[in-house]
């Protein structure tokens, strides 16, 4: 281990850490607004990476069909489960609900045909994954608004299994590794630095900053947090719990989409890579008590670095080390805030 290797590992660690950071802040946002510990966040990443890879190769990804099916389900649910008066409102909302899915599907087909540039493909992918979020909320979680966070966790795990199985069906068992969006390399003190790494870090910083400011300083952010703490009270104040749920899922899915597109050039992503990434994002999120964005971000970067150096010294046990860390962290967290982990 000399300075060069250390710096190399550091770059690797920072790059991974930034992805974990994006994951962590999505998870913290999700929990802060909906009390759901959103295990399937990793699936957003793998779906994004694999869809982007498919588009780059001129194939139409299975996500397109999935989006259309989800849109159809939301429409059916809207029409079914409400009173006659609400049904009219649902019909009026129908175009708005279905339009994004249709437009994006059309764009995806277009891109596969015409081989549009990478940036356009990336944007389409991110939009598709972001679109999935609110629809998944509507179908799976909206009925469970009153459930304890434990039930929500179990349902989130179930959703993860569903998305995992569907992912295998949509994308097959092969992995994908795309060309980087920003294909430039710098050399700093003899150490090659990829522009992609810098972009990931920059995105991470920007998103953390934005989320932190919105959640702490703006009325919207506070309204979203209020809806999680006390849904009935929030509703009395005119804050819609459904709207906040859909917003949270939209933002989390968007972050997942961005992460997936960015990470697809760094490592090979398979249909099941998302789960492990998601869990590591958790370790970081838990550091901040699933409440603080900056702490989660710093923890994620630290985790990436730890994992990088651990893989150098004891690669077979890299995962064991990382996950064994969660338990002392949870202990420390729950001692710091007694009773916080309760329903």
């Amino acid at each position: 281990m000399n300075a060069f290797v250390a710096a190399f590992l550091a770059q690797d660690g920072l790059s991974n850490g930034a992805i974990y950071c994006l994951l962590a802040i999505a998870l913290v946002l999700m929990f802060a607004v909906t009390r759901i510990i959103f295990i399937p966040q990793g699936e957003f990443i793998s779906y994004a990476a694999l869809s982007y890879g498919a588009l780059r190769e001129g194939r139409v990804p299975g996500t397109v069909g999935f989006l259309l099916v989800l849109a159809a389900c939301t429409v059916v649910l809207d029409l079914l489960g409400t009173s006659a008066g609400m049904r009219m409102a649902s019909l009026r909302r129908l175009p708005r609900r279905v339009a994004p899915a249709l437009v994006l599907s059309a764009l995806a087909l277009l891109s596969a045909r015409l081989h549009l540039p990478a940036v356009v493909d990336a944007l389409i992918t991110i939009a598709m994954v972001a679109c999935m979020g609110p629809m998944l909320f509507r179908i799976v979680f909206r009925r469970l608004a009153q459930a304890s966070s434990l039930v929500l966790l179990i349902v989130a795990v179930a959703l993860h299994l569903v998305l995992l199985g569907l992912g295998l069906y949509f994308f097959g068992p092969e992995g994908v590794r795309t060309d980087p969006l920003f294909d430039m390399n710098f050399v700093l003190n003899g150490l090659p630095i990829k522009a992609q790494t810098l972009v990931i870090l920059a995105t991470c910083l920007v998103l953390v900053g934005v989320l932190f400011v919105i959640s702490e300083r703006s009325l919207t952010g506070k309204a979203l947090r209020a809806a999680a703490i006390n849904p009935i009270g929030a509703r009395l104040m005119g804050i819609s719990a459904e709207l906040s749920g859909e917003t949270a899922f939209l933002v989390a899915a968007f972050i997942g989409g961005v992460s997936g597109v960015l990470i697809s050039s760094a490592t090979t992503i398979y249909y099941d890579s998302g789960f492990l990434l998601g869990l590591k994002g958790f370790v970081a999120g838990i550091l901040g008590g699933l409440a603080s964005f900056p702490v989660a971000a710093i923890g994620a970067i630290g985790l990436g670095l730890l994992e990088s150096y651990a893989s150098f010294y004891a690669s077979a046990f890299k995962e064991t080390i990382v996950f064994s860390l969660i338990i002392p962290i949870l202990l420390w967290r729950s001692l710091a805030q007694p009773g916080k982990g309760a329903h």
């Binding site: 510990i37 799976v140 009925r143 469970l144 459930a147 304890s148 966070s149 434990l150 039930v151 966790l153 179990i154 349902v155 795990v157 179930a158 959703l159 993860h160 299994l161 569903v162 998305l163 995992l164 199985g165 569907l166 295998l168 069906y169 492990l276 869990l279 958790f282 370790v283 838990i286 077979a316 046990f317 890299k318 995962e319 064991t320 996950f323 064994s324 969660i326 338990i327 949870l330 202990l331 967290r333 729950s334 001692l335 009773g339 916080k340 982990g341 309760a342 329903h343």
Partner: protein
């Protein structure tokens, strides 16, 4: 009983393949059963059950393969391995709750999976093969029948033991854990010990499953003990009904039998290959929680009008011996407690003797409930002397204070809604029994249990709720629930009784009956400290009244003198400006 008959008949009717499948059902059911105890009853959800199965399996596999032990002798070692890890794990489990605990078990499951796959001695990712099978008297368990019989015999034994346990004093203690520690500790239950024991029992059962699996399958690799498998065990418990022991069997049967069915039919049905069992199970669980959150069996039970409570005969003569009836006194001097900048209690002094009723009244936010929490050990006071019969109780836990003779009811009713009223009251008598978990499982403490239940029945008779003995506590009206809490507090044979708004939610007639009852308790020699808002109720009932406002005592004396006190009138009604 029908199930037992089916099991006895099965080996004669079914072929080897079906018997092997049912053996797996039985094995999974044992693992899921542990989770029913841990998650369904004690409220500690664990995704790590598969990791403990793995520990049991690998310990036995390594010892039989590398050290040549016989499989039967590795069974206790598997138990100990799983148990030791569970004990260590319990140190964590006890501190965490809710989703923090789930996350810890997820992390544990993942960490163990990679540990199993990374170590040399466990054979790495390819695992260990050629594990010797179980054998009895020289004949190996190679055919399907002995394995099937063995596993299901153990499963039935486990169900019987757990049913006994849940029926006993410690079982009630475990069931009290679900709603949080506050009420359980106030009844004198050692919640840390109860949680630890639940965890150890569940993990030892998992250890057995692992041990048998290793010698039945004769091959182990990490995939069988991954987080996915742990999730599957939890799903089994939840699907069948995590609150019912037979739910584990139902869930295990559904999942284990459905999987090969799906694997066989789905590809043909959908015309494509892929791993769809996961999708189907995920969808099943999602639908389950949206429409039948308690699980399939309880839903069926409700649909058919059954109830989970079965009445049992009580022998009234078998009551517990009552404690000494010496006179008692509770003395508080200068109690002080602040939360951040708010001083909830400042220099509060109070005295309650046996045979008197003291009422603590005051506007909302005066600090009355905080004071209760200080006296009962729920919150630690910043300063002040708290003496019970001359002995200091400051800084003691609520469990210790309960055992010293202070009983209480709660402002927001804390009953176990699915348990019968009688058992809820019996919970109050927990500290008067000594039966352990093992005794409970083996039904060795029946006499003590009879005494506890008789005590509970007597208290129910005393408060006038004898008719409700076998109704679920959650089905009672709020007023009756409050009185049930009083009965529960009385079951602990206290010397001083603290009642937090016992009359809230009662109608006039009921309040009069309650007042009459409280007076009879005083005449029996109890000292009673009462927080109430209803002035009529308090003034006709109390011997002395203490008035608090903004954390301080502003008046104290007989009801008449307090009513005419100008400061009290100002606090309640406001002064003329």
């Amino acid at each position: 009983m029908a199930i037992v008959a089916l099991i006895i008949a099965a080996p004669f009717v079914l072929g080897d393949y079906q018997l092997a499948l049912l053996t797996y059902v039985g094995l999974s059911a044992i693992a899921a059963l542990g989770l029913v105890l841990l998650t369904g009853k004690a409220g500690l959800s664990s995704f790590g059950q598969a990791a403990f199965v793995g520990i049991g399996a690998y310990v036995s596999a390594i010892l039989t393969l590398r050290a040549g032990w016989s499989p039967w002798t590795t069974l206790p070692v598997s138990f100990q391995g799983a148990g030791a890890c569970a004990w260590a794990g319990a140190l964590v489990v006890v501190r965490l709750s809710g989703h923090y605990l789930s996350l810890a078990t997820i992390a544990f499951g993942v960490a163990m999976f990679y540990l199993f796959g990374g170590l040399e001695i466990t054979g790495g990712q390819s695992g260990l093969s050629g594990i010797p099978p179980l054998s009895v008297a020289g004949t190996a368990f190679t055919s399907a029948v002995p394995s099937f019989v063995f596993v299901w015999a153990v499963l039935l034994a486990c169900i019987a033991m757990l049913a006994n346990l849940l029926d006993s004093r410690m079982g009630r203690a475990i069931r009290a854990l679900k709603d949080g520690d506050l009420m359980a500790e106030a009844m004198g239950i050692d919640t840390d010990a109860a949680k630890t024991w639940s965890f150890v029992i569940a993990c030892v059962m998992a250890g057995f499953v692992g041990w048998f699996y290793a010698h039945f399958q004769r091959f182990v690799n990490p995939t069988a003990f991954s987080l996915g498998q742990g999730i599957e065990y939890l799903f089994m418990a939840v699907l069948g009904g995590a609150n019912m022991l037979w739910g584990a069997v139902a869930g295990a049967a559904i999942v284990t039998l459905l999987k090969p069915l799906l694997q066989a039919t789905l590809p043909g049905l959908l015309g494509m290959t892929g791993n769809f069992e996961g999708v189907v199970f995920g969808l099943l669980v999602i639908l389950l929680f949206q429409f039948a959150a308690e699980g399939l069996l309880p839903r069926l039970q409700r649909l058919t009008g059954g109830s989970s409570i079965t009445p049992r005969p009580i022998h009234p003569g078998a009551r517990l011996p009552a404690g000494p009836t010496a006179s008692a006194s509770l003395v508080v001097e200068g109690a002080r407690k602040s939360f951040g900048g708010i001083v909830a209690n400042a220099d509060v002094s109070l005295l309650v003797n046996s045979g008197e009723i003291v009422a603590l009244i005051g506007p909302n936010g005066a600090g009355k409930s905080t004071f209760f929490d200080l006296v009962t050990g729920v919150t630690k006071a910043d300063a002040g002397r708290f003496l019970l019969n001359g002995q200091s109780i400051a800084g003691r836990t609520s469990r210790e204070i309960a055992r010293l003779g202070i009983g209480r009811s709660f402002q927001h009713v804390r009953l176990i809604t699915e348990m019968s009223s009688l058992e809820n009251v019996a919970l109050g008598a927990h500290r008067r029994g000594i039966g352990s978990m093992l005794a409970g499982m083996l039904r060795l403490e029946r006499r003590e249990e009879q005494a506890l239940l008789a005590e509970a029945q007597a208290q129910l008779d005393r408060v006038g709720l004898a008719d409700c003995a076998w109704l679920a506590a959650g089905s009672l009206a709020l007023g009756q629930q409050r009185i049930l809490e009083v009965a529960r507090a009385l079951a602990g044979d206290p010397q001083i009784l603290l009642l937090d708004e016992p009359a809230a939610g009662l109608r006039l007639q009921e309040k009069q009956t309650l007042a009459h009852f409280i007076r009879s308790l005083r005449d029996d020699g109890l000292g009673i400290l009462l927080v109430e808002h209803d002035m009529d109720f308090v003034m006709t009932l109390a011997d002395r009244v203490v008035v608090m406002e903004f954390g301080r005592i502003i008046a104290s004396g007989t009801p008449h003198s307090v009513q005419n006190d100008a400061r009290v009138q100002e606090a309640y009604l406001g002064a003329a400006e």
